[in-house]
């Protein structure tokens, strides 16, 4: 008897759709990181100066830091429910490449948390005095950066699943790894604002993204196996 196996792509699509449906039913939870993002960026003018020309100097960096923190927020619970109710165990046993299923889950997570941040960023940036000419670069850099961050965060979330006080630990693990993203992303915005070509940092961001995309699933599946097997 030959076992019939769902094609991997179809299985990954099912995982993706399931997460989207679940999120749609609890959309208020999905909105929380976005609200956090706006609140954090509001704090900077209050803490420093309401002068737009002064805020412009740090605007790109503030948007980037806020985006990093906001996308970390939702990561902690990424795999928790699935590990607790045994879904991940079934994935491990399913014979599908675990990395792809986890990547589909991370992709759904990115669509729900990363993409809204990217779309919101011009509005938030304008509040910090960023000119319309940097919108494109800001969004593109965040698009690549949040993608990488979702994968890095996926590794961190897979490692800290079932750990006490996981959310603090997760930030401690993921933030140092995300520093290059912060450097390249905010530099790209600053260079565009100074009239330089931001191609260099954007290409580096893209390179890091593709590296994370190719190696990330391996690390994620190794980490999930450790969490499930014991």
């Amino acid at each position: 008897m030959t076992a019939v196996r769902t094609p991997t792509l179809a299985a990954a699509k099912l995982v993706f759709q399931r997460d989207m449906t679940l999120a749609w039913r609890r959309w208020d939870e999905v909105a929380q990181p976005l609200i956090f993002y706006v609140v954090v960026t509001t704090m900077f003018p209050l803490a420093t100066t309401p002068d737009l020309s002064a805020l412009r100097q740090i605007g790109g960096g503030v948007v980037w830091v806020a985006a990093l923190l906001a996308s970390l927020l939702a990561l902690e619970a990424l795999f928790r429910a699935d590990v607790e109710d045994g879904t991940t165990e079934q994935w491990v046993l399913s014979g599908q490449p675990l990395g792809y299923l986890l990547l589909a889950k991370v992709a759904a997570h990115w669509v729900l948390t990363g993409l809204p941040l990217v779309i919101m960023s011009p509005i938030v940036g304008t509040g910090l005095g960023l000119p319309t000419s940097v919108w494109g670069v800001l969004m593109l850099s965040l698009l690549l950066g949040t993608g990488t961050l979702s994968i890095l965060g996926g590794i961190g979330a897979a490692l800290t699943v079932g750990v006490r006080r996981g959310s603090v630990l997760l930030s401690l693990l993921v933030l140092p790894l995300a520093m290059p993203l912060l450097i390249f992303g905010s530099r790209a915005v600053a260079m565009q604002m100074d009239g330089d070509s931001p191609a260099g940092p954007l290409q580096l961001l893209a390179a890091i993204f593709f590296m994370a995309l190719s190696l990330g699933p391996l690390a994620m599946s190794a980490a999930i196996r450790i969490s499930v097997e014991n």
């Binding site: 590794i155 490692l159 800290t160 750990v163 006490r164 006080r165 996981g166 630990l169 401690l172 693990l173 933030l175 140092p176 790894l177 520093m179 290059p180 450097i183 390249f184 530099r187 580096l204 890091i208 190696l215 690390a219 190794a222 980490a223 450790i226 969490s227 014991n230």
Partner: protein
């Protein structure tokens, strides 16, 4: 080729015994080299024409910075070996490396800061190497925090091993991104000391000191690893028979 020696080495009783006999060699040799290099560096080596005697902190700073990265790589290799061949002893070795590496990183940061005060006029500059050293310290702290947060030692071993491998891939990226970041930001006055052509007379004690630090690392890892073995094997028969 026979791998018996390898498997033998990976068995706790053998490793415990071998490490016990290696440790004094490492210890005394490192003490001798460090004392020699200290005398050579502080007394015999000529003073720097620009920094005077202030540069002599280099003999602690540079070897600790080197060891901080060396220890991380050793830790990641041990973690990888443990993960791939499922050797518990390799995981124990990785666990033994982490606090030592973190201490070296802290020492490099502290001496860099002390050196920076008279040379740069400030305790801290966002210099490329200082910043990537700081991020390395964060990586060490994250690794140790993850290891400490599991109750089950096997799970702690394997989860932190994955983190060590992810980290070691990221270390060069972090290093180059920080490098690139500071070359755009930093005033040239700070980089003046960056690439001095060091005299041979100053370089020899530096190499001796690095060798001494390496041996010290060997001694410290042997001692810590023996401790790890004792802790992990506390219920094993061979230990009861040995004591």
């Amino acid at each position: 080729m026979s791998w018996t020696w390898f498997h033998k080495l990976a068995s706790p009783p053998h490793a415990y015994r071998i490490l016990g006999s290696l440790a004094p060699w490492f210890g005394w040799a490192s003490l001798a080299l460090i004392l020699l290099a200290t005398w050579w560096g502080l007394v015999k080596a000529p003073a720097d024409y620009q920094q005077g005697d202030g540069f002599r902190i280099l003999y602690v700073h540079a070897p600790s910075a080197w060891m901080s990265m060396f220890a991380y790589v050793v830790m990641a290799i041990a973690a990888g070996v443990g993960l791939i061949w499922r050797i518990k002893l390799a995981h124990a070795a990785a666990a033994a490396c982490a606090p030592i590496g973190a201490s070296f990183t802290f020492l490099a940061l502290a001496t860099g800061s002390i050196w920076g005060k008279p040379m740069w006029g400030t305790w801290w500059v966002w210099d490329a190497r200082l910043t990537s050293e700081l991020l390395l310290l964060f990586l060490y702290l994250g690794y140790m925090a993850l290891r400490a947060s599991f109750d089950d030692p096997q799970r702690a071993d394997r989860a932190s091993a994955v983190l060590a491998l992810v980290g070691v891939i990221n270390v060069p990226i972090i290093h180059y991104s920080v490098d690139w970041w500071t070359t755009l930001h930093q005033p040239a006055s700070v980089t003046k000391f960056d690439k001095p052509s060091i005299q041979l007379a100053m370089l020899i004690p530096l190499f001796i000191m690095i060798a001494g630090f390496q041996l010290y690392f060997g001694w410290a890892v042997s001692r810590r690893l023996r401790g790890e073995i004792l802790r992990r094997e506390r219920n094993a028969n061979w230990l009861r028979e040995a004591s």
